[in-house]
């Protein structure tokens, strides 16, 4: 929880500060390059010139979890990889978000029934904010997922609400 969170009642000043903070955070999302399988190709295409992610402020892919806001899990999550994904997510600094890109990270994808080595959805490992279906999703679909995430970031408030009243709520 931030120092000014959960102190002030909702009001004009608080919502203005909210607006500024959310605007700053959603217009400058730094994704972490987490392309594991084929969806990585579409993520690269989304980051390249035709479907530019940089025009949404989200073009600066960081290789390290320490500097990134968004982990785009693009590809099949195997049991071998699951431990690493958990550790990397824990090493990201708040505010952090996760996008499950592609059928494999949503629910196991084509390996859902018989995949002995596949985790059936990355949400068994880390909490997911946005799901982008597709196999692989087109770059436009990934961009829509990013815009939905931006809307989700826009709903964050620092005001004292019923949910965080007196409690330390994790972001």
């Amino acid at each position: 929880m931030a120092l000014i969170e959960g102190i002030f009642e909702p009001g004009l000043a608080v919502t203005s500060v909210d607006w500024v903070l959310n605007w700053a955070r959603k217009r400058s999302i730094f994704p972490m390059t987490f392309g594991i399988a084929c969806c990585a190709i579409e993520m690269m295409a989304a980051g390249a010139s035709r479907f530019d992610l940089d025009r949404f402020g989200a073009g600066a892919f960081r290789a390290t979890p320490r500097q990134s806001d968004l982990m785009i899990v693009a590809g099949t999550v195997t049991f071998k990889m699951a431990d690493r994904i958990r550790r990397l997510w824990e090493q990201m600094a708040e505010p952090r978000y996760v996008m499950a890109m592609g059928a494999c990270s949503i629910s196991g994808g084509p390996y859902h029934l018989h995949g002995y080595h596949v985790v059936k959805g990355v949400d068994l490992v880390i909490p997911v904010d946005v799901y982008v279906p597709g196999c692989p999703p087109r770059p436009e679909a990934l961009i829509e997922g990013l815009i939905r995430l931006q809307e989700k970031i826009g709903t964050h408030t620092i005001a004292k609400t019923r949910d965080n009243f007196g409690l330390k709520k994790k972001l």
Partner: protein, 134 residues
Amino acid sequence: MTESGRFLIGILLFAAAGVALGLGALLFGKLVRPRNPGGMKDEIYECGEPTVGPAWVQFDLRFYVVALLFVVFDVEIAMLYPWAVIYKSLVAQGIGVAAFWEMMFFFGLIVLGFLYLWRFGYLDWVRATGDEET
């Protein structure tokens, strides 16, 4: 208020504004950022793997040799500059030849050290191991 007094106030205000801008940005960040330390977040990053051993290892001595050589030659060049600047006036005074050979003597000593290092392989990046040297 005197002119230099006003000038001083201007400089002080400018410096204060600069410091305030930097500290203000840091303060704003401190207020609005979430703070949840602990857990796996404090672990050293190694692409998702747990780390093996400490990160503070002894570093390669080849870097020391290169750095040492650099310092020696840098100081030598620092010595060469004033000599080069007054050389023309020394020639005019008639002691140009002596000045030249003195500097060559100094330079020669240092180059001798350099040649020693070079010939005995201390500058090779990939060195032969101990048991291969004769």
